[in-house]
Amino acid sequence: MKILVCIKQVPQKDAPLKLNESGTWIREDVSYEVNEPDAYALEEALRQKEKHGGEVVVITAGPVRAQQVLREALAKGADRAIHLEDDKFVQLDSTNTARAIAAAAAEENFDLIVTGLQSDDFGAAQTGVLLAEILGLPHATIIIGIEKTDSGLRLKRELEAGHYQFIDLPTPAVLTIQSGINKLRYASLIGIKQAKNKPLRKVAWAEVEPKLSKNLQQIERLYVPVKQKKTEMIEGPAAEVARKVTEYLKNTARVI
């Protein structure tokens, strides 16, 4: 199978984020990491390749800094990488992001395209599904198990509240992958060395721009959410905090 994995670089989970001056986006001087569900999508692609042979290609869209997540993927075992490299990719809505990826990937005729079910920054959960629509491929979302069959794929799809469903899908297809589908691997030392010599193709903004159109939605402002509840913040040494919390539970909340 020839597999494309779409990955995104997002701010680290516990990185303190600050708003930019215009209040429309975050300040970019934070630490970044790969979007966690995308890491699971990559792991799944590597496992499928190890079982059935083929090739794993990783793609991302973003500034120069985003190359880091491609290098990490190459170190884990991906064969080559594609970088849609420009600061402007950050400002695209889900539809245009999917268009840009489709433009860079369309000629490659992948058997399977996988990505995480959503990103930890936007959380729109749309890019994978939109990519399928643009490429005219069938898709399935929130996948927690993949098995290759004679006619395509047998997938385990997660539904709400602990329910599941098996579905059959012909390939080529696009899948969005749920976290926890597998156990993530670490890059080996030899993998990290080899990654330096693996091919990384850069795609410039101008190459895909003709395929993009105007963003049909835009962020007017970004802000710290308004508190819904009055929270009693308790500080101090552990013993004192424990005593105050216990008092609250006993006298105010009356739960002990």
Partner: protein, 328 residues
């Protein structure tokens, strides 16, 4: 044509998904400000009786979009049928509940209509004649007000719990039967039956006290801290998704959109940042205590009591205090 709001209600296997009523409540609220009437559509086959429940709400019309091809959900059939229906009706705004099913087809539907979908909104604002949708960003650390550019139909999904279904205004609406457009090709996805993995040994929805752990617990052996606190409080241990993904606790103890939804008297969140997917599963809890080292963690937005600190110091001390208080 006058502007309308179309709510796409959801059913599965002949059962109405209750979150459809939340979306109707949201649509009614928007309608009060914009003056756009609310209509509802329900897709499926042999679902006339479900439409009656929707028609008992204060909406202008309920359309039952039926075809045998819609008996079992497939994205291909849903996109095809709803695209045609929306193109004929030309509503200004199309609203969905943000369910797993909607996540599966709504983006494709929006693009097939050459339109845009704002997904997982928690609310809306109507400012100077402009409609904005509020959504959470960066795992809830920020909120964003998002606008549509270009012509309608505009599509948006509302997060579960964004509105209260029991506050959907009652009324009486006519029901209209519509034969759904069906594509000539068969759907590319073949769905099989929905199932549950194993009988759940613990039903956390019945627990009065839940002590839940997140990434901040760091190592599996540290779960003992949570277990001792739960024991002192007479409660059950639960977790956010990453803990169950790691296999540290069984999936049946996972709280959140993909796990169980709970509303105990007391919910203690240890090292849980409070991603949206977790919050939807526990925000109905009566008293929420959160202990986290990150003062910016979104869990503090919904906590009654917040402790910014090292849980490895605070939790053992708290366990001792509670034991003392209980034996006093």
């Amino acid at each position: 044509m006058a502007d309308t709001i179309l709510v796409v209600a959801e059913q599965r296997e002949g059962k109405l998904n209750r979150v459809s009523l939340e979306t109707i409540a949201g649509a009614q609220a928007i309608s009060k400000e914009t003056g756009w009437p609310v209509e509802v559509v329900l897709a499926g086959s042999d679902i006339g009786s479900l439409a009656q429940e929707l028609a008992a709400k204060a909406v202008a019309r309920v359309s039952v979009l039926e075809a045998p091809a819609l008996t079992t959900y497939t994205s291909d059939a849903y996109v095809f049928a709803l695209k045609q229906f929306i193109q004929e009706k030309q509503p200004k705004l199309v609203l969905f509940p943000h369910t797993y099913q909607v996540r599966d087809f709504a983006p494709r539907l929006a693009l097939a209509l050459d339109r845009s979908l704002i997904s997982d909104a928690v609310g809306y604002k109507y400012e100077n004649g402009r409609l904005l949708f509020t959504r959470q960003m960066f795992q809830g650390k920020f909120a964003a007000d998002v606008s549509f550019a270009g012509d309608g139909p505009w599509l948006a999904t509302f997060q579960i719990g964004a509105f209260r279904g029991d506050q959907a205004e009652a009324g009486s609406a006519p029901v209209e039967n519509v034969t759904a457009a069906v594509s000539e090709g068969s759907p590319r996805v073949t769905p099989h039956e929905v199932f549950q993995e194993a009988k759940q040994a613990v039903d956390l929805s019945q627990s009065e006290v839940i002590v839940a752990v997140g990434r901040g617990i760091k190592e599996q052996k540290n779960l003992a801290l949570a277990e001792e606190l739960a024991k002192a409080l007479g409660g059950e241990v639960a977790a956010s998704r990453p803990i169950c993904d790691n296999g540290w606790l069984p999936l049946e103890r996972q709280i959140g959109s993909s796990g169980q939804t709970v509303a105990p008297k007391l919910y203690v969140a240890l090292g849980i940042s409070g991603a949206i997917q977790h919050l939807v599963g526990m925000k109905g809890s009566r008293t929420i205590v959160a202990i986290n080292k990150d003062p910016e963690a979104p869990i503090f937005e919904i906590a009654d009591v917040g402790v910014v600190g090292n849980l490895f110091d605070v939790v053992p001390a708290l366990t001792e205090e509670i034991k003392k208080a209980k034996s006093a």
